[in-house]
Amino acid sequence: MLMLMKIKIAMLAGALAAPALATVLTPPTQVDPEGISRLAPASFSYRAAGDFSRSGKPVEGPLRRLGLPADLFVMKRQVTVAEYDRCVEEGACPRVGFQSGRRDVPIVGVSWHDASTYAAWISLKTGVTHRLPTDEEWTFAAAEKARDEALPVVDPADPAQAWIARYEAESNRSKPAETAPQPGGTFGTNSKGLDDLAGNIWEWTNTCFIRASLEGNREQVTNTNCGVRVVEGAHRAYMTDFVRDPKSGGCAAGVPPTNLGFRLIVERPGAAVADAFRKAVKLLRRA
């Protein structure tokens, strides 16, 4: 409860401080003592997630220049076992496995549903909207830790060459030396002051898997599957929303996400930051 109150206070402080940070002269990041980082808007490069084609041929997702319309408030660290357990104890979140007994490490073994449930619960407890980031927001927050892994696209006219190249690229992914969740900060801090991005935990985003065709600069989404969400970490992956323990094996090659965890975006009370952001993204894409 103490922690929750502190978040409230932190958010209030954040809200009060907002006007002062809205200029380009301010430092890009501020972290309040309770671990919500405030990221000032900046433009960033983003590879669209999903399967894309142009003139019927598979292509890489388009690379876009995006910008945030407003400050983004994001957890400095991933949600911990201790934090998640409070939600479990109140009967709101399901108890999940894969726990090492440590409480100061990030919770792992959570599905998108578990993460979303936690976000809804903490929003209710604090009166402040918490949610999973979009893939765009995660990429922005991850900054240099976000990896644009351009895997060869498998061409149905000759599936084998690109397929093998892709298999080899995936096989070359390095495995984290340590698979068990580690205390916050173990995997370093990025240029935006956030910890443990692209460590041994992949983070759920709210972005749904899409299939889209490209014509010039226009993109037509032909299928949206929100049963599969984008997870982000050392590489981007698409994960069925109820999966808690990612793995390869069988027909799949390469290194799957090691663990599934999450960190949340905090929306300032009364400010429709997310809506504004989404609108802005759409505008930017047309530009």
Binding site: A160, E219, V221, N223, T224, G250, V255, R286
Partner: protein
Amino acid sequence: MLTRRTALMGAAIAALMMTAPAIAETADELNLPREKVTLVAPPAVHPHDQATKSGPKIVEFKLTIREKEVVIDSAGTKFWAMTYDGSMPGPMMVLHEGDYMELTLVNPETNSMPHNIDLHSATGGLGGGALTKVNPGEQVKLRWKATRPGVFVYHCAPEGMIPWHVVSGMHGTVMVLPRDGLKDGAGRSLHYDKIYYIGENDLYVPKDENGKYKTYETLGESYADTTEVMRKLIPTHVVFNGSVGSLTGKNAMTAKVGETVLIVHSQANRDTRPHLIGGHGDYVWETGKFNNPPEKDLETWFVRGGSAGAALYTFREPGIYAYVNHNLIEAVELGAAAHFKVEGKWNDDLMKQVTPPSPVPPDKVGAADPVAVTR
């Protein structure tokens, strides 16, 4: 706890009770040419002739037993293995029907247990098990005649703890080829450009009260807990070549379109059902014995626990093939999966994606709401 000393004492008593026949120096009486083979670790197989015109010979092999802690999955789970020559399975040994195998089995002083070898391809003496028991610091030489062509399992068979030794990795395969090579059942010769040997191993790793895999200081200390898991008959891992993913990624097996591959699959303990996803078995000796005509065009073949099978396949399409135990729970959840990476030119006649994934037409069953999102 089972210490090295108690294990040795048991072996000594067993040796006293069994009035072992004197092992005479018999090699020279045969007066046959000799060949010494250097073994290689699976999935590779040592160089050999597929058919031979020469007469029978004595083929010399040496297996060194190694007890060691190994890692069996990507989570770093540790496991005390017992091995022939350090690999799980042990190396494949190839000779021809009518040849003699002269096998030297070495149990180095650094090991803690007595071991032996039971070769399913050999006749008499418990497959050699009765004549090959060696304590740490001992070695033994066994000669047996290859009278039946086929692929056959060999494994350790020490009294009282056979299954533990076998599921801990002490198994491998002998291939006895017909002198005139493999045949298709109608008398036509079959050849392979490549051979791969896959040894499947069910593993039973004990867990602690929190569900975490336990580790042990010594092999002997793992015995009691492991046996308890084994008795429940539910493996924690089912792996090819010693660990989950050992034949995938950078270690995937390779072939080219047009190449013919002989895949030998052994399981010394438990039934399995190999399947090549995207391919077939052109000629399959499901029971592994070459005097029986091979079955043709199989999708999945059954390898009985305690036997080896052989499948011949010519790759016709490039790409990645998964080679699995088609109990898919064992393949995907427990680890029994390998990959072939096959280079070559794609053949549209065999397969073509006619229409890429696209929306179901609006007037058809299964169509999504007609909302085209453009952004």
